[in-house]
């Protein structure tokens, strides 16, 4: 029998449904999460199964309902807070950075905030500057938060289940361009630990460390490169914090060339951190400087030809890898 395939969105929904069946403390709130099932229809059917007591539409008050999530988590629930577009995270920053991230530490370990914030990232949906950003670096910067970036339906299900069971605030970023991506997803209950990278493709000549949607870009580039005789390894950290430094460094030492790919801004961003980790851990094994590829340092423009050049693509990554490998 062939493996069952689900879309990324279906995998997210299945993870939520399974966790809600397993644990009555899990509840969802956010804007249009109930009957509407979110604009992306990721949550369709959940309110029908679990009721309006556990799947709650909120007012358009991101700061308010995020704060409610923090308090609900402290007082015994396992809320999954839905922030429709990652750009709206700016409205939640005090609740996430000053409250959720610090409650455990500031209370000397007495209070816990087991909540998940689900949100989106990613450009090229023609949504312009306020619906296209990838702001996961901001949260990766803050002690007390965990940040998850699934790149496949399989990872989305396993990582989300782990995030819900985690005792800490976890921010879970879904690339909205990947919701229709299909892949094998087991029907049974499984979890993927946070902080364990996945080598998505084994290679010898160059390592592409990629997150979220960029994993798919890296895999596409690796296919092209293979035809040219360049063997690319694709490493997906899956979580920016906790970060599996060892797997990344081991791959860098093996291949000696690394491109780091992430859809957030490069400056002071995830690619900067990953490049630093590689420089510190694999410097003497590298044959070339680590190359960073991320969103251009501009607000994401609306006009399609402009928007398309702001993020790394299969072509630009292939070209960069080709040029790095030729330099030897």
């Amino acid at each position: 029998m062939p493996e069952r395939e689900l879309t990324f969105a279906q995998a997210v929904r299945e993870a939520l449904a399974e966790e809600m069946r397993r644990d009555s403390r899990v509840c969802i709130f956010g804007e249009d999460v109930a009957e509407a099932g979110t604009p992306f229809k990721v949550l369709s059917g959940l309110v029908e199964e679990f009721g309006a007591e556990r799947v709650l539409d909120t007012p358009i008050s991101e700061a308010g309902f995020t704060g409610v999530g923090v308090g609900a988590a402290m007082a015994g629930l396992r809320p999954v807070v839905d922030i429709m577009f990652g750009d709206f995270l700016t409205l939640t920053m005090d609740q996430m950075v000053n409250q959720a991230a610090k409650a455990h530490y500031m209370s000397g370990g007495h209070w816990r905030v087991p909540m998940v914030m689900r949100t989106t990232l990613g450009a090229t949906r023609r949504s312009a500057a306020q619906h296209s950003q990838s702001l996961h670096a901001w949260f990766s910067h803050v002690p007390g938060l965990k940040v998850v970036l699934p790149s496949t339906p399989y990872d989305a299900k396993g990582l989300l289940k782990t995030a819900i069971r985690d005792e800490n605030p976890v921010v879970f970023f879904e690339d909205k361009m990947m919701y229709k991506l299909k892949g094998p997803v087991p029907e049974e209950d499984y979890t993927i630990p946070l902080g364990v990278a996945d080598v998505k493709r084994v290679g010898e000549d160059i390592t592409l460390v990629a997150t979220s949607s960029m994993v798919q870009v890296a895999l596409g580039a690796a296919n092209v490169l293979e035809k040219e005789g360049i063997s690319a390894e694709v490493v997906d950290p899956r979580t920016t914090w906790p970060l599996d430094e060892k797997t990344i460094i081991d791959s860098a030492r093996k291949t000696s060339r690394v491109i780091v790919l992430d859809e957030g801004y490069g400056r002071y961003g995830v690619t900067a951190e990953l490049a630093a980790v590689i420089a510190e851990g694999a410097f003497y094994d590298l044959d070339a400087p680590v190359k960073r590829m991320g969103a251009m340092h501009v607000p994401i423009p609306f006009s399609p030809p402009l928007e398309d050049v702001t993020v790394p693509t299969e072509e630009t990554v292939t070209e960069a890898a080709r040029s790095m490998c030729k330099k030897l």
Binding site: R25, V68, G76, P79, Q99, H104, H110
Partner: protein, 333 residues
């Protein structure tokens, strides 16, 4: 339900003491706690910032005496009174203020972040209005879990400037959450009179959401307790949130270092509140006349509270600092 004898409490004397005598004791304990804080701070024994609650004791005590030990509160940067009134013990509070391991937060929170699950204290908060979501969320959890608890969200009138307050008030009313928003109007947003920062009326804000609103003389512990009891019982029985405006006064500056205050309020004003409107004096006078308490009983309470606070300070000063290797502990659960 409103008698001290019928509910669990952290302090043993509450089980036997007359309710109003106990309220007096609690207010005196807070006042003397803050006197010690002032002393510690001015003697440079206490690091950081100290925001004293003196003058506002009747609010914390009147409300917390209407709560059960497992009801939730969230507090503010001016939070020592709320913590004590909810049942925290002064020795561990002082230890926290001095950054000692024996403190409620093992020294990691300090004066502005005391939290204590044993007394339902979700934490003091150094962001003005920062805990309004937490209190509302705790009320959501209480309702969802059906455990009968209520949440009280203490904040000063300065927090009326924060938009997130109105976001959660809207939500609490829509979802009929058992939360009571307690606005302690001590009239000064730091160094600015609230009339300069607050358009409209305070209770008008509650009315806008159809939330049950009430105002009370925050220097009258019995009046505060009476209205709090009503609002708490109302919330507990599923009738939704309430908003209480308690008018009060902050005797000291915004923090201990705020000494020259005449550019924003007069010494006469401060003196008036201290002599005419002091919650401890007012309640003590009532106890000695209508409350049938002897003056010696009140003196006895003060003597005991003073001894308790002195011993607590001694404990905190002698307590060790956390070892440096604890700095990375409890970042994650």
């Amino acid at each position: 339900m409103t008698t001290a004898t019928s509910k669990p409490h952290a302090r043993p004397e509450a089980a036997t003491e007359d309710k109003w005598l106990h309220a007096y004791r609690q207010m005196v304990r807070i006042r003397l706690f803050e006197e010690q804080v002032n002393e510690l701070y001015t003697r440079a024994l206490m690091p950081g910032l100290a925001h004293l609650y003196s003058g506002q004791e009747a609010v914390a005590v009147g409300i917390c005496e209407a709560l059960n030990i497992d009801d939730y509160i969230t507090s503010t940067h001016r939070g020592h009174g709320h913590c004590l009134a909810k049942g925290a013990s002064p020795d561990r509070m002082f230890a926290e203020l001095l950054g000692k391991e024996a403190g409620y937060c093992r020294g990691k929170g300090g004066s502005m972040h005391i939290a204590d699950p044993a007394t339902g204290n979700l934490g003091a908060n150094a962001i003005v209005g920062g805990s309004v979501g937490i209190a509302t969320g705790a009320a959501f959890a209480a309702k969802r879990l059906g455990n009968g608890r209520v949440a009280v969200c203490f904040f000063g009138e300065g927090a009326l400037g924060q938009g997130s307050l109105y976001e959660v008030m809207n939500l609490a009313q829509l979802w009929k959450l058992p939360v009571i928003y307690v606005c302690e109007n001590n009239m000064y947003n730091e160094y600015t009179h609230f009339s300069e920062t607050t358009a409209g009326t305070i209770l008008g804000r509650a009315a806008a959401f159809g939330i049950e609103g009430a105002s009370v003389d925050g220097q009258d512990v019995r009046a505060v307790n009476e209205v709090a009891t009503r609002l708490v019982e109302r919330a507990r029985s599923g009738n939704g949130p309430a908003f209480l405006q308690a008018d009060t006064y902050r005797y000291s500056g915004h923090h201990v270092g705020d000494i020259n205050r005449e550019y924003y309020r007069s010494k006469q004003e401060e003196q008036h509140w201290k002599t005419e409107r002091d919650p401890i004096k007012l309640h003590g006078r009532w106890l000695m006349t209508l409350g049938q308490a002897a003056a010696t009983a009140l003196e006895q309470i003060t003597t005991e509270a003073r001894a308790e606070m002195e011993a607590a300070v001694k404990f905190a000063i002698a307590a060790p600092y956390p070892s440096v290797d604890q700095v990375e502990q409890d970042v994650y659960a």
